[in-house]
Subunit: 332 residues, 2 copies
């Protein structure tokens, strides 16, 4: 198995992807191709000695796509951009999965325009693993699609269900529909129509969930339009950041609180670990013909390593075939 | 000034509204009418001696609206329900503002069907004060309207702006539009159209904000469709609940952590106070001809007292006239 890693994208590139790739090539029994500016990657690799060179290759891709470019246009024009090179390799079978910490729009466009959709999937969607009170749960769509139709949301449910079953090994993942009331009649036009379709869908449909269920982790999969999902995801991240700052302030205020901190240090570490997105890898772009994963832009080497491990699971557990089968069953 | 308080609604009724009304009648230099089952209220009032009976009256309203009834229908049929009696009194000028901790749907329907809209307002909206890193900020609409149009969102901005200026005494409140990207072109169909309208609106338009700005408190007013606002509000409340539980667990784990807790107790109290919705009163239903306030269903007497104080400010600072003037200026 070969994982294609964009070495140029993200806040800590190329250091974080290169460090993670070196570790993954050594530990995970997979091959890695680092894709990006060869000179830059080679120079970064000099920091590490003794990594398995047979398992770690470099593919030269000199161009960059900036955040200010129109993604679809940039993907069509910049054939030498690392994310475009990776997507083309994935399409041709020169790799089994791709991972990028770079520009989200460019990754979505590469997945859609180059890798292509699974037959029957109307729109691929970004799934994000959220740490909750009941463990890691999947929010889908976290921002790939706005103005969704009910059929899109049902397919998000199917894809999320297969992902959680295969990659996170949950026996019968429950799928919840994000709304603003528990009862069937509650919600907006989109969720009301989606509710009746989901009752007939080939997964365990829990019914409506609400915002309070996000961190409670009420269901394994939380389905929503990408606008709502993106707002929810960033609200949770932002709140984590604000509260993290408050907790830090609380313990560093004065000598007395610093002493107090010593007594609860272990618990604080557990607490931080539970809420640390880096533990849970990247966001799968579900619905493409091959596994595509978006790593968080601020990923450090630890986060990139976990995303590579997740990519391996994504391939090994045949998520793509599982989604295709589930769609076939539904159409019959 | 007389505030009409629904004594029957909420998880802690009649105890919480009655206790809060007694305190408010004594401290806030206003009159209070407690509306609900007279016998129940009288019996509850026996707990308190020496409150100013000239400032605290009871209005008998024996009926109840349950959570399972269709709100608009219930409001039309149950003339004796406390929230309906309060709305009719408000309409007739027998009170200056109304507050209920009961069924949200019934309160919204009473506001819309009985109290009525300010001329020119298409849809009233629920504003909710959120505690943020930069102090209390207003999220509007927090759940009164789904499937909004751009004109609705612009009016939410106007109403939120006037409320924050008058009631929270913010000099030039900045209004942000909730979206999924900072740049003007980012968002869904609704926010893209709203953006161009907001540029010409009679308030300080900040531009797009994202989920991470909610708890950062980037803008004084955060405007969104009621579906999105309700999901955001409940996500924040739910996350507060989960993290609160984790912090409690952290400090009560064993003898060592319990000792640690003693050192940081003051800070934890500050921290809890900062995130405590009870400090900030209720959610104003903005756009009605008279001040209508929705208190949180789980309000205790302290929260109800703060909501009554907020109702007083709502009346005293002429929010309704301010909204009407702002609309007039816009139409000219």
């Amino acid at each position: 198995m070969k994982i294609l890693v964009d070495a140029m994208g993200g806040d800590h590139a190329p250091q974080a992807p290169v460090e993670a790739a070196v570790r993954a090539a050594g530990e995970l029994d997979i091959e890695i191709a680092l894709i990006g500016d060869e000179k830059v990657i080679r120079s970064e690799l000099k920091k590490y000695s003794g990594y398995p060179t047979d398992k770690l290759t470099i593919v030269h891709a000199p161009e960059m796509i900036s955040n200010h470019e129109e993604p679809a246009k940039a993907v069509r024009q910049k054939k030498g951009a690392s994310v475009v090179v990776a997507a083309n390799m994935l399409k041709k079978g020169e790799g089994d999965a791709m991972l990028s910490m770079g520009n989200t729009g460019a990754l979505l466009a590469s997945g859609l325009l180059i890798v292509g959709r699974i037959k029957g999937i109307l729109r691929p969607a970004l799934g994000t693993i959220l740490p909750t009170a009941k463990g890691p749960k999947l929010l889908i769509d976290a921002g790939a699609n706005t103005n969704c139709k009910p059929e899109n949301l049902v397919q998000f449910g199917i894809m999320g269900h297969v992902y959680m079953k295969n990659v996170l090994e949950i026996d019968k993942p429950q799928v919840g529909l994000m709304s603003i009331g528990e009862e069937e009649g509650k919600g907006d036009d989109l969720t009301k129509k989606t509710y009746s379709l989901m009752k007939a869908a080939p997964f365990e449909f829990y019914g409506n969930i609400e915002g309070r269920d996000v961190m409670e982790g009420t269901t394994d999969v939380m389905v929503c339009d990408g606008f709502v999902g993106n707002v929810v995801l960033k609200t949770v991240e932002g709140m984590g950041h604000v509260i993290g700052g408050m907790v830090k302030e609380l313990f560093t205020k004065n000598i007395k609180t610093k002493i107090g901190a010593l007594f609860v240090m272990d618990g604080v570490k557990d607490f931080k670990k539970k809420l640390d997105y880096r533990e849970y890898g990247g966001a799968p772009l579900l619905g493409c013909k091959k596994p595509v994963i978006k790593g968080h832009g601020s990923s450090d080497a630890f986060a990139v390593f976990n995303a590579i491990r997740q990519a391996k699971q994504f391939v090994a557990t045949n998520v793509i075939d599982g989604i295709a089968e589930c769609l076939d069953n539904m159409e019959e």
